[in-house]
Symmetry: C2
Subunit: 344 residues, 2 copies
């Protein structure tokens, strides 16, 4: 492992994503990625008595499915990195409390999938873990209640607002395997705060963090946007994505418009599904990465992606106290399997 | 780095704690460890408009003091691992948003000091970081408002309850240095849930997690309690400490009564200061470790300690929904500097 420049960590042994799973709720299951998911729950309660318990059940389901797809018994898993948006990470801690692995709770708001994945990669390459999982989730109903208004209130939201994805994703990371996608670099971001205070416009708050992390990566490595098939952001949505492209062009002289994709824009059909500016929440990039992208990387249909998930690091309390929204973006580079590469 | 047994990670290159700082509030400054702290704020608001902002200021102060004690410019710091008890970790994210280092938010409730310290050690030894900080805090007034009742309510608490410490601690970790204490092993714990539901008796909820992590470490390494000068728990307090000793004896045949210390019992004079069962909160073990213990390790007055910080992983929402309290304990082994060792 080698740290270069402003914080990019190059993984020489290239840990592999040996399995992944994505489970989602009803609305996500009706979206354009419907066929990619491992399970669609038509009842967003999952039969639980509270939405918080439903979200915990989503995480458990994602982890169990990822393990079973790799025909891996739970005892093989020695470390779990997990987090979510709920206060004190209860979706993760309650959802995963029955597992016997070391549990490392992390918080990166909607950047959690990249944060957990990056930590897994560092732990695997360093020998601190032999088999680690990155797990995260979000749920529309828990997020609305905690961050905005209970659903019963029926509040109207502006067009810049995004819809929190109901879903959970899990990746299982282990030592390099020739037939599985690998992680070749990670970059843990710095906090960016550009003074934006509108909690209904998260995309705008998070775009500057994404721009900085992407720029830092390119300047650390000397690579260029065209070295990637896709540059995938987490959940900037329509407003934030546009802002990111223009920020990168104007402030950093980088044009990623040809290969930029955003999980928040991909998971819903923004016009037909009445989701305003797209999807958001930890579960958004977690479910899209662990289905659509990992599936295509595994098959070699995509060669190399930069996965940059962003998070808005505020709380309802900080917003009520008039604070701006600090944000962060963590980055993971994923590549298709060696075996696929050789066939070309 | 080598992972052995049930999850103990042996650090062969022994990263060093090159600096540390602890800053506290008024009540903590009146306690038995008064002379150990780097700064005592007699006004718990720190001049800020809200207690949440005060807690952020505590973290910033701890980090700045730790850097300045090592005569280290902020640019040298490349990674920060931080967390706290506030929803969405706002004490950390707002307190540390001006720093230019990679920011990795973690949540381990009151186990955060051990979790951040352990992650720093793994990152330094693996090469993912060259200079990392572990920072955490808690504040009596923010914790009361968020987890129990606003102070104005004047609620009475049972004798098993603990007082959340107002304070922050920071450790700076770098490659092995001969004249500074080093980290020789870490063990990230598993979640334990023994069905305890009383949020006024955190010590009892957390003791089983501490017992399991301590047992796992000894069984992984073949070491014995007498191999440590002190086995230091985070904030079990009076009730939890008694329970830990009896659990270890009864269920695991381990007697640590001769060298067990608890930061929650050390930071206050439980009889004179009306703090019931002792101190608690992320800031409790963070301030005691980063003052009393690091000071004594540095001077060689203590040779080797096992630092086991415990966390209760519930939220007010999970408690209201009738859930029990899952808990966790992370462990870090610290040793006195080589130079001191040689002089003996």
């Amino acid at each position: 492992m080698k740290r270069v420049g402003n914080g990019t960590v190059i993984l020489q042994q290239k840990p592999s994503v040996i399995s992944s799973a994505a489970v989602v709720g009803k609305t996500e299951g009706e979206g354009p990625l419907s066929k990619e998911f491992d399970r669609i729950f038509t009842d967003d309660t999952l039969g639980e008595k509270s939405y918080e318990k439903s979200e915990s059940a989503l995480q458990k389901e994602a982890l169990i499915r990822a393990l079973s797809k790799a025909e891996l018994s739970e005892e093989k898993l020695d470390s779990i990195f997990a987090g979510d948006l709920l206060n004190q990470l209860t979706a993760s801690t309650f959802g995963l409390r029955d597992t016997e692995a070391s549990f490392l709770g992390v918080f990166g708001a909607c950047s959690t999938m990249a944060l957990t994945l990056g930590l897994c990669a560092v732990f695997i390459e360093s020998g601190a873990s032999e088999c680690a999982a990155a797990v995260t989730s979000s749920h529309f109903c828990t997020a609305e209640r905690q961050f905005r208004m209970p659903l019963e209130y029926g509040g109207q939201r502006p067009q810049s607002a995004q819809r929190t994805v109901t879903g959970a994703g899990a990746s299982i990371i282990s030592a390099h395997a020739v037939n599985r996608p690998s992680i070749t670099a990670v970059h843990f971001g710095r906090i960016a705060d550009f003074g934006i205070k509108d909690a209904n416009n998260m995309g705008a708050a998070m775009a500057p963090a994404a721009a900085r992390t992407i720029f830092d990566y390119f300047s650390d490595t000397g690579e260029r946007p065209e070295d990637f098939d896709c540059i995938v952001t987490g959940d900037l949505g329509n407003v934030g994505s546009e802002l990111l492209l223009s920020l990168l062009k104007k402030d950093y002289a980088l044009d990623i418009s040809k290969n930029h994709l955003d999980c928040g824009k991909m998971i819903f059909d923004c016009e037909k599904q009445d989701v305003h500016s797209g999807g958001s929440g930890c579960g958004c990039s977690a479910t899209v990465l662990n289905s659509y992208f990992i599936n295509r990387l595994t098959k070699g249909e995509i060669g190399r992606i930069m996965f940059v998930a962003t998070g808005a690091l505020m709380s309802p309390t900080s917003s009520m106290q008039g604070e701006s929204i600090p944000s962060i973006a963590h980055l993971v580079v994923l590549e298709k399997p060696d075996t696929v590469k050789e066939k070309q």
